[in-house]
């Protein structure tokens, strides 16, 4: 017996909450990937990352509305289109922001911090003006609702599985782009030594712009996934940015596996603890544990072993 629960009840709860945490996990992974890519590439901490996510969420919402009104027979598959559009919108905005703002502030980390924070406020206001202050939600197609039963006590939500599957595909794609494609080679060269990368013939400014766009675009996809666990409002992104930083630091900056492991640990810890404690207590416990582990392993969960 654990508290008032029998062991089998307890494990069912763990499993249920675990699966319920899948979407949160996916959102964390995607957000952290984007944030880590941008930070690794240009040392920019993007405080507006949450707003790029929310842009993706609004795009998904718009898609659901438009499809319901005009082409209802496409409703079952609209979510795929919405994700692609969410990516495109956030990617586009990212490229624009890099061009208009970020590129003037490289090598000035405090200024970029302030500038992106200002950007996040500006975007929140923009969302408020365009979409209104009220939160909006999307309707999911029927096939994504409901759940698969495993045994009598455990239910796995279908949308959770779907989003996790997609997240894994995107993580794999990012890994492929970074470590197997020639574009990724250029990105890594710029990350290592910007000046030298230019001197071997790499257009570092173009690499910067595309990388920033990619990071933001992935946040847009996270926004699509986010619509399944929360309602979309102008400031909803704010709630996620801190958790995402936590995931990145805990995972060890620059390690894809580390990011995934850390997103998994943190989302699962929060999701299961929330069942037994209040939400804020769960947060505090998670945070304390992460801080404790970071004191023992300052480099994060995973890091590269290499002479530099």
């Amino acid at each position: 017996m654990i508290g008032d629960y029998s062991y089998s009840e307890f494990f069912s709860i763990l499993a249920m909450q675990g699966f319920a945490g899948l979407i949160l996990f996916s959102v964390f992974v995607l957000m952290a990937l984007g944030l880590a890519i941008i930070f690794g590439q240009m040392g920019v901490i993007n405080m507006a990352h949450g707003e790029f996510m929310i842009l993706g969420a609004y795009v998904t919402y718009l898609c659901s509305v438009v499809v319901t009104d005009y082409v209802p027979f496409l409703f079952p598959v609209y979510f795929f289109v919405a994700m692609a559009l969410a990516f495109a919108a956030s990617f586009g905005l990212g490229v624009l922001v890099e061009w208009a703002l970020i590129r003037h502030l490289y090598r000035r980390p405090l200024d970029t911090l302030l500038a992106t924070w200002g950007l996040s406020l500006a975007l929140q206001q923009l969302y408020r003006s365009v979409f209104g202050a009220r939160e909006v939600g999307v309707t999911l197609p029927d096939w994504m609702m409901g759940s698969i039963s495993l045994g009598d006590a455990i239910e796995i939500p279908i949308n959770g599985l779907f989003v996790m599957g997609l997240t894994m595909i995107i993580a794999a794609a990012v890994y492929f782009i970074m470590f197997r494609s020639s574009w990724g080679k250029r990105v890594r060269a710029v990350v290592q030594n910007r000046v030298m990368a230019g001197a071997v013939g790499i257009n570092t400014k173009q690499v910067d712009r595309m990388t920033f766009g990619l990071g933001c675009g992935i946040a847009g996809i996270a926004g699509s996934a986010f619509t399944m666990i929360g309602s979309t409002g102008p400031t909803a992104g704010q709630l996620y940015i801190v958790d995402t930083f936590l995931v990145v630091v805990f995972g060890g900056a620059g390690s894809l596996i580390g990011t995934i492991a850390s997103a998994f640990t943190i989302s699962q810890a929060q999701s299961t603890l929330e069942f037994f404690l209040s939400g804020s207590m769960a947060k505090v416990l998670t945070l304390l544990t992460v801080v404790g582990i970071l004191m023992l392993r300052p480099q994060g969960l995973f890091s590269l072993n290499i002479r530099r």
């Binding site: 250029r186 290592q192 030594n193 230019g198 001197a199 071997v200 013939g201 790499i202 257009n203 002479r307």
Partner: protein, 229 residues
């Protein structure tokens, strides 16, 4: 092939290169010699577009490049092996060489490069940072050659390398020149290495050319006197 006219380079208020002019013919090897702090690295960096020049013209063939960015100069045929090598340490040897392919659009490392530096073929899967200093130097040269340059800039390639390997390197560089016919500008403090490989020697002293000699007509004692403190 490479022509520099009246080049001036400053760091902030202090001018380090004061109106330098020289030209390098196709397939010629020119050694730029000078003591520590005389501006060799600064010259290389400004040729490469890493440090901006305040005035003067740099031409590759007939194209002026002094206003272009580094990567555009590489596209026009310049390649650079910096002092301290600066290979990408977390990337593998093969990936390091492949970064040089960006401007050519090739996807495979040309086999000649591995022929010149067989050791790199043996180690192509290793991370660059785990190579020895001499191997890193070869890697940096291979990476520069991958962009199929017309002019190769080498900044103190012999720094921290044992004498027997230095001789070997001089031979390799001459062989590269003979094979591909590219021009080489090499900055150097080791006189014997410069004599081994260069067709012409320029001595720079406080940002100006103080002495110039062809290999045949070189007065070793005079050059040595510039290099001793």
């Amino acid at each position: 092939m490479l022509a520099v006219e009246n080049l001036k380079v400053s760091y902030g208020q202090s001018e380090v290169i004061h109106g330098l002019s020289f030209a390098v013919k196709p397939a010629e090897i020119v050694a730029i010699m000078g003591r520590n702090g005389m501006g060799k690295t600064t010259l290389m960096k400004s040729l490469m577009g890493i440090v901006p020049s305040s005035s003067g013209v740099i031409r590759i063939g007939d194209t002026p490049v002094q206003t272009l960015e580094s990567f555009e100069r590489v596209e026009r045929g310049l390649a650079y092996v910096p002092q301290g090598r600066m290979i990408f340490s977390t990337m593998t040897v093969k990936e390091n060489i492949e970064t040089g392919l960006t401007v050519t659009g090739e996807t495979e490392v040309p086999p000649q490069i591995y022929e010149l530096f067989p050791v790199l073929l043996d180690m192509k899967g290793r991370r660059g940072g785990n190579l020895s200093g001499g191997q890193q130097q070869q890697l940096a040269i291979a990476r520069a050659l991958a962009s199929r340059p017309k002019v190769l800039l080498l900044d103190e390639p012999t720094e921290g390398i044992q004498p027997s390997i230095i001789k070997e390197m001089a031979r390799t560089l001459r062989r590269i020149r003979d094979d591909i016919g590219l021009s080489i500008v090499v900055s150097e403090q080791v006189l014997s290495f410069a004599l081994d490989m260069a067709d012409r020697v320029l001595v720079i002293e406080r940002g100006e050319i103080a002495h110039e000699a062809t290999r045949a007509g070189i007065d070793e004692a005079k050059v040595a006197s510039f290099l001793s403190v």
